[in-house]
C-alpha cells in the first residue's frame, strides 16, 4: 500500500472546560489512502462529526478544543500548523460538504460568487477565467444550464441542486481529501442516489480520498472501501466493507443491523439496544457499551477493552481478548415474543374506518397589486384511500409530493378544496365547530419532529392531560392524573417524568410522550407523519415496536406517512405511493415492495441503499427533480422523468387499472 494521505492518531476532543468537559472524541485513530473511501459510521452524538471538524480544525468556538493526538496530512501534522497555513489547507487540500444543503449556502450571494471565492483564494483565478471555471465545475456536478444557474441565489435551487453546488464548491480547490458529513441525509432517496453516484464518479475522476460520515448502513454498504464504527467518542471496530457486512465483530455493530426494520422482520419486534448512550463528561472505567451489551462480562465493567487485531480488522471488545474469537450465542434480553401475526393480506373489510374519495387541496397563488389568484398549487389532487379498523396504510412519497398535506386534510386540520372524508360513516368535511371538535377525539396525529411539536413551557403531565380535559375524559383531576401516569408507563416512561419539561428528554423519549398524548383521548386512527425520521436507527426500532404493540392492544388504525421504505415493509399492511399530489399505485405491502407496478415505485425502491453490499442491484436513475405542483407536466405527471415513457404518456393521464387483486396502478405501460 502507498503512504497514507491522512493519518489520525489518538485524537482527543473536548467540548467545554473543567472536569466535566464532554469527551466528544476519545482516542480516535485511523488512516486514509488516496483514492480510498473510508466511512465513519455511528449514531448521533457519537463524535463522528466532531472528528471531521477536528481534521479541518473547525470545531465550534470557543467550546470545542483538540487536547491531544495528531492529524497528519502527507506527514505534516495539521494540529501544529499556524492558523494562516491551515487556511491554505481548508478548501484547498481538504474540502468538506455538510449535511444541510438548505442552510449551508449563503442566501445573499449567488452560487457563482460562492464558488468563485474558492477559486480566487486557492487558485488565484479571477474575472473571466474564474467564471469559465465555475461553469466547468457546475457542469461537472451535473447542473444543467450552468451559465444561468451561476447567477442564481441558493433559494432558487432545489435541495439536490444545492448539494451539487456544495460539491462543486468543494471541488473548486481541487482537494486531495473530501470530507462528506452526512451528505445525503437531508435528501430524498432518488436524489440521494444521484448525489452518491456523483460523489463516486468524481472521486474516481480526481483520485480523491473520501471521508464519509454517516449513520446509514445502506450508504456505507454502497460507498465505502473500509469503515469504522464509532460509539461514545471511540472507534469500536474497523474493517473492510466486505468483512464488516459479512459479520460485524463488535456487539454494537451487530445490534445496529438487528435494529433495522425490514420486510423479513415483519410480525416480530425489532431488536432494540436497551438504555441510552452513556454521558461523555467523565472517563469510562470499562467499556462504554457494557451497560447496553448482551455479551457483558465482569471484565467489561472493570477495564477498558484494548484494540484487538484479528485478520486485518480491529475491534475494541473484551470478547476478542482471550482464545475465544467467536462470541458465544447472546442471551437475549428481549426474547422474540411471537406476535399474533397481523393479517397483512386481509383486504379492507366492507366498512372501512376511514374512506377518502377525490380529496383535493389546492392553494391559491396570489400576485400583483390586487392579489389576484393567478394559479393554484395542486398539493393534493384527487386522492382515494381506505383504511380498515386496526390496519396500517403507508402513504409513501418524496418531499413535496403532498403526503403531509393529505394527512392534514384528512384530519380536517386543513380544509380540503374538494372531496369526501368519511370516518366511521360520518362525513368529516361537513362537520363544523363543536361537532368536529368532539369528533377529533377519534383521530389523532403524531408529528415528525418531537422537538418542536410540544410546548416547551408545559409539563409532560399537562401535555398528556390537555386533550383529556378538552374531550371530557376522566371526571376528576385525580382520574386524569392516574390515566396520564398509566399512559406514560405504557409508552415506556416513568411516573416521575410527569412533572418534567420536554427539553429534559431525548428525541426518542419525546416521541413516546407524543404517542402518549395522542393515546390519551382513546383515538381509533392515528396519522403518523414521519414519526421516526428524526431518530437514530436504534431508537427508531423502539418506537416502531411501541407503535405495533399499541396497534395490537388497542386495535388502532394507522395512516403512516413516510419516505422510508424499509419502515413501510416492516410495519404497513397496504402501501399507497404518491407523486405530485396523486396516488400512482396502491396495493398490499408485499406486492408493492417486491413487485412494484409503477415505474416511479420501482425507481424509488431501487434507490434505497441496500445493506447487503454483495447483492448490488441496478439503481434506476431518475433524471431531474420533482416538477412544480403549480404546473404539473402534461399527461402522466411522471413522464418527463420516467425511463419507460411512451408517446401516449405525454398526452393523457392514465386511468386506474387493477392489475392484481387489490393492487392497482395508474400507468400506461405497467403490466
Amino acid at each position: 500500500m502507498n503512504e497514507p494521505l491522512l493519518e489520525v492518531q489518538d485524537l482527543q476532543v473536548r467540548i467545554g472546560r473543567g472536569p466535566r468537559a464532554v469527551r466528544a472524541v476519545d482516542g480516535v485513530s485511523f488512516v486514509l489512502h488516496r483514492g480510498e473511501t473510508f466511512a465513519l459510521l455511528g449514531e448521533s452524538g457519537c463524535g463522528k462529526s466532531m472528528t471531521a471538524l477536528s481534521i479541518m480544525r473547525l470545531l465550534p468556538r470557543p467550546a470545542g478544543r483538540i487536547v491531544g493526538g495528531s492529524v497528519r496530512l502527507d506527514g505534516q501534522d495539521l494540529l501544529d500548523l499556524p492558523e494562516r497555513d491551515m487556511r491554505q489547507v481548508r478548501g484547498g487540500r481538504i474540502a468538506m460538504i455538510f449535511q444541510e444543503p438548505m442552510t449551508s449556502l449563503n442566501p445573499v450571494l449567488t452560487v457563482g460568487q460562492q464558488i468563485a471565492e474558492v477559486l480566487a483564494l486557492h487558485k488565484g483565478l479571477r474575472g473571466r477565467a474564474a467564471e469559465s471555471r465555475v461553469r466547468e465545475l457546475l457542469d461537472a456536478v451535473g447542473i444543467p444550464d450552468s451559465a444561468r444557474r451561476m447567477k442564481e441565489y441558493p433559494h432558487q435551487l432545489s435541495g439536490g441542486m444545492k448539494q451539487r453546488v456544495m460539491i462543486a464548491m468543494a471541488l473548486a480547490g481541487e482537494p486531495e481529501l473530501l470530507i462528506a458529513d452526512e451528505p445525503t441525509t437531508a435528501l430524498d432517496v432518488t436524489i440521494q442516489a444521484q448525489v452518491l453516484e456523483l460523489l463516486q464518479s468524481l472521486q474516481a475522476r480526481y483520485h480523491m480520498a473520501l471521508l464519509l460520515i454517516t449513520h446509514d448502513l445502506g450508504v456505507v454498504a454502497g460507498m465505502a472501501d473500509r469503515l469504522a464504527v464509532m460509539y461514545a467518542g471511540q472507534l469500536v471496530e474497523q474493517a473492510t466493507r466486505a468483512d464488516f457486512f459479512r459479520e460485524p465483530l463488535h456487539p454494537y455493530g451487530r445490534k445496529l443491523f438487528e435494529a433495522l426494520p425490514e420486510m423479513d422482520k415483519r410480525g416480530r419486534p425489532l431488536t432494540v439496544i436497551p438504555g441510552t448512550v452513556p454521558p461523555l463528561d467523565r472517563p469510562f472505567t470499562g467499556c462504554p457499551f457494557a451497560p447496553r451489551c448482551d455479551y457483558r462480562m465482569a471484565r467489561c465493567e472493570a477495564e477498558p477493552p484494548p484494540l484487538h487485531r484479528i485478520d486485518g480488522r480491529e475491534v475494541r471488545c473484551h470478547l476478542y481478548g482471550g482464545e475465544v474469537h467467536v462470541p458465544p450465542a447472546p442471551e437475549r434480553t428481549a426474547p422474540d415474543r411471537p406476535r399474533a401475526r397481523r393479517r397483512s393480506d386481509a383486504r379492507s373489510p366492507e366498512t372501512p374506518l376511514l374512506e377518502v374519495r377525490g380529496l383535493k387541496v389546492h392553494f391559491p397563488i396570489r400576485r400583483g397589486l390586487l392579489r389576484r389568484t393567478v394559479g393554484h398549487v395542486h398539493a393534493v389532487d384527487g386522492v382515494d384511500l381506505r383504511i380498515g379498523q386496526g390496519q396500517t396504510l403507508a402513504l409513501v412519497g418524496e418531499s413535496g409530493c403532498g403526503k403531509t398535506t393529505a394527512g392534514k386534510a384528512i384530519l380536517q386540520l386543513l380544509r380540503p378544496t374538494a372531496g369526501s372524508v368519511r370516518f366511521d360513516g360520518t362525513e368529516l368535511t361537513r362537520l363544523r365547530g363543536e361537532a368536529l371538535r368532539r369528533r377529533r377525539r377519534e383521530f389523532q396525529i403524531i408529528f415528525q419532529d418531537p422537538y418542536s411539536s410540544m410546548n416547551p413551557r408545559m409539563m409532560i403531565r399537562d401535555i398528556v392531560e390537555e386533550g383529556m380535559r378538552a374531550q371530557g375524559i376522566g371526571r376528576t383531576a385525580r382520574e386524569r392524573h392516574a390515566r396520564a401516569r398509566d399512559l406514560l408507563l405504557r409508552v415506556g416512561l416513568r411516573e416521575e417524568h410527569l412533572d418534567r419539561y420536554p427539553h429534559e428528554f431525548s428525541g426518542g423519549q419525546r416521541q413516546r410522550i407524543c404517542i402518549a398524548r395522542a393515546l390519551a383521548v382513546e383515538p381509533r386512527l392515528i396519522v403518523c407523519d414521519e414519526p421516526t425520521s428524526a431518530l437514530d436507527v436504534s431508537v427508531q426500532a423502539q418506537i416502531l415496536n411501541l407503535l405495533s404493540e399499541l396497534q395490537r392492544d388497542f386495535g388502532l388504525a394507522y395512516l403512516f406517512i413516510t419516505h422510508n421504505l424499509s419502515v413501510v415493509g416492516y410495519l404497513a399492511d397496504r402501501v399507497a405511493v404518491m407523486y405530485l399530489g396523486r396516488l400512482v399505485e396502491e396495493g398490499p405491502v408485499a406486492g408493492v415492495l417486491e413487485a412494484p407496478l409503477h415505474p416511479y415505485t420501482e425507481a424509488l425502491i431501487s434507490a434505497v441503499p441496500r445493506i447487503d453490499p454483495e447483492q448490488r442491484r441496478e439503481i434506476i436513475r431518475l433524471e431531474g427533480d420533482l416538477p412544480s405542483p403549480t404546473r404539473p407536466p402534461s399527461g402522466c405527471h411522471f413522464h418527463p422523468r420516467c425511463p419507460k415513457a411512451q408517446p401516449i404518456c405525454a398526452r393523457s393521464y392514465p386511468e386506474q387499472r387493477e392489475l392484481r387483486p387489490g393492487h392497482w396502478v395508474k400507468c400506461h405501460v405497467a403490466g
Binding site: 481548508r90 455538510f98 445573499v108 441565489y153 412544480s628
Partner: protein
Amino acid sequence: MNLARLGGLFTTLLGVVTLVFFLIHWIPGDPVDVMLGESATPSDRAALRHRLGLDLPLYRQYLRYLHSLAHLHLGTSLHDRRPVGDLIAERLPATVELAGVALLITLAIAFPLGTFAAARHHTPWDRAAMTFSLLGVSIPNFWLGPLLILVFSLWLGWFPVSGREGAGSVVLPALTLGTSLAAILSRMIRSSLLDVLGEDYVRTARAKGLDDRRVLWRHALPNALLPVVTVIGLQLGSLLAGAVITETIFSWPGIGLLTIEAIQRRDYPVVQGCILFISLAYVGVNLLTDLLYRRIDPRIRTGTDR
C-alpha cells in the same frame, strides 16, 4: 406592495385622525379661554366660539375636519390664524436636520460597537461593550440632555445651550437622541450577528479557508444586517415623529416642540395636523424600509413560486 397594504395604510391614518380628534376634545381646557384670558365676557367668548366653529356639535366639527383634510387642507391655527401646513413646513427642516444627524450618530456608534462585540463574543470586550450599551438604554433623555448641556455648554462652552443657531447647535440634541437609539441598535446588531455567525453557511465559508475578517464582512454581516434594516426604519420613524422631550429640553424648534406648544394652547387644528404628520412620517418610513428590504434580500427580490 399591493392594494391591501395601501388600504391598510389609509385606514391606519384615518384611525389616527379620528382618535386624536376626539381625544383632544375630551381633554379639559378650552382654546377660547387660552386666547381671551380670564377677563373676557361671556358674549365675547360666544362670538369667538362661533367664529372658530367650536359651537357646532362635535360630530359636525369632525366631519368638517375630514372634509378639509380630503382637500388636503390641514386647517388654520386657532392661535395665530396661520395655516397649519405652513407652521409644519416651517418647523420641518429643524426636525429633519435633527433626525438626520441623530441617525448618523446612531449608526456611527451602533455598527462598530455591535459588530465588535459580536466578533469578540465571550471576551471581556464583549461584556464591556454591552455594559456601555446597557447604560445608554437606561439613561433617560431628560437626564442626559441637561447633563450634556452642563458639561459641553456651561463648563466647556463648546456648543450653545439651546435653540437652533449655528452649525454646532444640533450636536447636543442629536447626541442625546443618538446615544439611546445607538444603545438599542448595537444590541440588535450584536445579537443578529451572533445568530448569523452560528449559521451553517458561515461554517461553509470557514471551510473554504477564508480568514475571519472576510467571513465576517462578506458572509456574516450582509445577512446580519437584513433584520437590522427594519429596526433602523422604526428608529428613523420615531426620530421624524419629533423627539418631543429632547426638542423641549434644547428648545429645538422642530415638530415635537410645535406639538407641545399647540397642546398647551389647546390649538386643536395644529395638534391634529402635527400628529397626522407624525403618523404619516412613521408609516411612510416603514413603507420605504419594507421596499428597501425587498431590494436587498434576494430571497424576496427573486422569490420563486411556492
